[in-house]
Symmetry: C2
Amino acid sequence: MQDRITTILKAVADPTRREIFHALVVATTALPITQISNQFDISRQGITKHLKTLEGAGLIHIDTKGRERFCHANANPLKEVNQWLKFYEQFWDGALGDLSDYLDNMS
Amino acid sequence: MQDRITTILKAVADPTRREIFHALVVATTALPITQISNQFDISRQGITKHLKTLEGAGLIHIDTKGRERFCHANANPLKEVNQWLKFYEQFWDGALGDLSDYLDNMS
DNA sequence: TATATTTGCAACCATATAGTTGCGTATTAA
DNA sequence: TTAATACGCAACTATATGGTTGCAAATATA
């Protein structure tokens, strides 16, 4: 199908998916799907689709217990993104917040 | 339209675009569009579309000189991705290459 | 046992995306 | 001046994506 890194990047490229992932990361406990979908404006099925994408990227794991399916985040795949980024670090300048950032945001 | 970080992530989520960006990053000189498209199997117009997406994300800049348009990379927007990642670093484990990575890749 | 809750599956829809081809135009070279 | 080169624009196609709804099945509760 596609690259692992591509799968991960596509997963986090969607803002809703990033929100879901974030909610799961900061949640102290694993959350069942309905409870997740209650936090969003889109339908449960919409959420389920996003969860599948996140699961496919390894960013969440789903645990079935009875009729409920508990989701918890796994940030490890992001290490791959971090590694991809690392190479380009030598090509960007300074720390965040310096002049070049200011100039970048002008355009 | 959409978030800056979303625009950047979507730009790099496509493998072809990552390749183009990489080629421009490692090129010592700015490259005209035709020369870029010669390095790929897709049409010049296909490349042009990708270049526009990259430009929209601020990852490249295009300089017109005569009939040619020279493209050069700008890695700075990746700092934003780096910053987004940073928060999740506390939730992943160890250095790259340790046991948990091995386990991540098993699934 | 009857009912309510949590979920998956499938079908469907609209739009975005990755790609193509054809054609016109500006610039450079012969 | 003619021909070749580099490019943008527009139209088009196929498929992916983000979202919906309806329905059936499994599990939990009354």
